[in-house]
Amino acid sequence: MLETKGLCKNFGALEVAREVNFRLERGARHALIGPNGAGKTTFINLLTGVLPPSRGSVLLEGEDVTLLAQARRVKRGIARTFQINQLFRGLTVQENVCIAVSERLGVGGSMLRAAGRRADVLDEAARLIDMLKLGQDADRRIIELPYGRQRLVEIALALGLQPRVLLLDEPAAGIPSAESHILLDAIATLPKDIAVLIIEHDMDLVFRFAERITVLVSGAIFAEGTPAEIAANREVRSVYLGSALDG
C-alpha cells in the first residue's frame, strides 16, 4: 500500500534515513521501533511530505507521490499524528475535530453556511469525540485539558480524516496507562483494510498491537519480522530491547 524505495535523508552531515526500503501492507498493524534519535519521526515526516527526501521515493499504491505536497497526500489518504501534540490550542475540542472533518468533506473553504449548521460535520465530529471518550470536554478549549486528554484529541483529528494509511507517532506517550485502552479501542474499531503504522516505545503495547515490527537504528532498517521473530532476535535484544523484554 505505502512503500519507500531507497529513501535517504541527511541533515547536513547527519544521516537520519539510509536507503530505507519499507512496505506497509493494506490492513497492516505494523510497529516501528528503535532507540531515541533513530530517525522514526523523520521517517514519518518523509512519508507525509513534511520533509523532502534527499534521495529515493515514496509510493502510494504503486504511484510515486514523492513530489506531492503534504495536503495532496492527505487527500489521498495518508494521515498522521504528532509525537508532540500539534493542536489548535485556543479552540475547543469540538472545533478541533470539526476542522479536520470539514477538510475531509471538502467544505473547509465554504464561506456562507455557518460551521455550526453543518449537521454532517457536527455529527461525525460528535461520533469521534464519543469514541475517544472526550464528550465531557467537547466544549472546553485544548489549553484547559490535561495532556493525556489532549493526546486523545490528537488521535481524533487523524481519525477524522478517514485515512487509508494511518501513521501514529508515539500515540500513547503522555496518556496515563489507565486511559491507554481508549486509544487501542479506537484503533480496533477502524476498518480492517486501513494500514496502521505505530511508533511506540512501550513494548507491551507494541506486542499487543503489532502483527509486524520493523526496527530502525541510526536511520537504517536493522531488522524486520513478526513480533515473535523480533523478540527472538538476539541482536535486536542487545541493541535495543534489552531489559524491556527480559524484565
Binding site: F82, I99, G108, A114, A115, G116, I129, Q136
Partner: protein, 326 residues
C-alpha cells in the same frame, strides 16, 4: 455525556448584538452636532474590522494594512477628479475591487513568507504605494493630495457633502452594517473556522490537508477589499484625500485600535475604535503629549498583561464567573 453545543449555537444572533446598532442610531438623534466625528468613528470601525479578519482570525501580522485603505481612498478620489465619476455607491464598489485586486496580487506573493519577513514586506508594499502616489502627482496630486472633491447624491436622493453630516453618518452606518454582515458570515463559516485553525497551528493545518495558502490569500483579499471600502468612505466623507491615508501611522493606528478593543472577536473593532477615538478626540487636542504618554503606557501594559483587549478582559471575567457557578 454532555453533548457539545457551543459551536452549534455560536453563529446565532444574540440579543446584545443589536446594541451597537441601536446605540449608533441613538447617537444620530442624541448628538446631531457630532455626526461628522461619528462618521469618522464608523469608518475606523470598518477599517479595524477588515484588519480583524486577517490579524485576529487568520493570524497574519501586517504593518501595511493602510495600503488598502489608501488604495480605496485614492480610487474614489481619482475617479471623481479625473473622470467626474462621483456617484458614491459605485465608487465604493470600484474601491473594493481595486483594493481587493491589490490585496490578491500582493497576497499571492507576500504570503509565501511569514514572521519578520512578512512584516517587512507588508510595510514595503505600503511604502511603495505611498511613494507611487507621491510621484504620480498628475494623477494623485502628489504630496498635497486631492482637496475639494465632491460627490453626487446617494441613490440620487440624499445630499452628500462635507456639509451634509446627517446623510453622511447614516450612509457610513449602512455601509458598515453591510460589511459587518459579510465579515460575520465569513467568520462563523467553515472558512472562518479554518482561518482560526491556520492562526492556531499551521503545522496541523497542513496535516489535515487544508490548502493553507489559498485560504490565507482569500482572507487577505476580502480584508483588503473591505479596507478599500473604508478608505473610499473616508474620501467621500471628507471630500479630500492625501498621502496620510497611506502612512505607517495609519497602519499602526488601526492595529492599536483593534488590539485595544480585542482582536479575533468581531466586536473588538467597535469597542476599540470608539474608545480610542473618543479619548483621542478629548485628550489629543488639549494634552497631546499626555495622550501619547498614556497611549504608550497602555500599549505596553496590553502587550504584557492583557493580550485580548477590553473585550478579552470581559471574556475572562465571564468565564471565571461561569466556572465558579458550575
Amino acid at each position: 455525556m454532555i453533548a457539545a453545543t457551543e459551536l452549534a449555537r455560536r453563529h446565532r444572533l444574540r440579543w446584545w448584538e443589536a446594541l451597537p446598532w441601536i446605540a449608533s442610531l441613538a447617537c444620530f438623534f442624541a448628538f446631531p452636532n457630532y455626526l461628522a466625528f461619528g462618521t469618522q468613528v464608523l469608518i475606523t470601525i470598518l477599517f479595524a474590522l477588515s484588519l480583524d479578519l486577517v490579524l485576529g482570525y487568520a493570524g497574519i501580522v501586517t504593518l501595511g494594512h493602510a495600503a488598502f485603505f489608501g488604495a480605496g481612498a485614492y480610487t474614489v478620489g481619482m475617479m471623481a477628479m479625473h473622470w467626474g465619476w462621483n456617484e458614491p455607491i459605485s465608487g465604493l464598489i470600484a474601491a473594493a475591487l481595486v483594493a481587493g485586486a491589490i490585496g490578491l496580487a500582493s497576497g499571492l506573493v507576500l504570503l509565501r513568507t511569514h514572521g519578520l519577513a512578512l512584516l517587512m514586506l507588508t510595510l514595503c508594499t505600503m511604502a511603495l504605494l505611498e511613494q507611487a502616489a507621491n510621484m504620480g502627482a498628475a494623477w494623485t496630486g502628489g504630496f498635497d493630495g486631492m482637496p475639494g472633491l465632491s460627490f453626487s447624491k446617494i441613490l440620487g436622493l440624499f445630499g452628500f457633502d462635507v456639509l451634509y453630516y446627517r446623510s453622511q453618518y447614516l450612509y457610513a452606518l449602512a455601509v458598515l452594517f453591510a460589511c459587518f454582515a459579510i465579515v460575520r458570515t465569513l467568520v462563523y463559516s467553515s472558512f472562518g473556522q479554518s482561518l482560526t485553525g491556520i492562526r492556531e497551528n499551521l503545522l496541523r493545518m497542513h496535516a489535515v490537508g487544508a490548502p493553507v495558502r489559498v485560504r490565507q490569500v482569500l482572507a487577505y483579499t476580502v480584508s483588503a477589499a473591505l479596507a478599500g471600502v473604508a478608505g473610499a468612505l473616508f474620501t467621500q466623507a471628507n471630500g479630500y484625500v492625501n498621502l496620510a491615508v497611506l502612512s505607517l501611522e495609519r497602519s499602526a493606528g488601526v492595529m492599536i485600535v483593534l488590539i485595544l478593543g480585542g482582536y479575533g472577536r468581531l466586536y473588538g473593532a467597535f469597542v476599540g475604535a470608539i474608545a480610542y477615538m473618543l479619548l483621542e478626540h478629548v485628550l489629543a487636542k488639549a494634552y497631546p503629549t499626555a495622550w501619547q504618554l498614556g497611549l504608550g503606557i497602555t500599549l505596553i501594559v496590553v502587550a504584557l498583561f492583557a493580550r485580548n483587549g477590553v473585550i478579552g478582559i470581559f471574556d475572562s471575567l465571564r468565564r471565571r464567573i461561569e466556572r465558579s457557578a458550575r
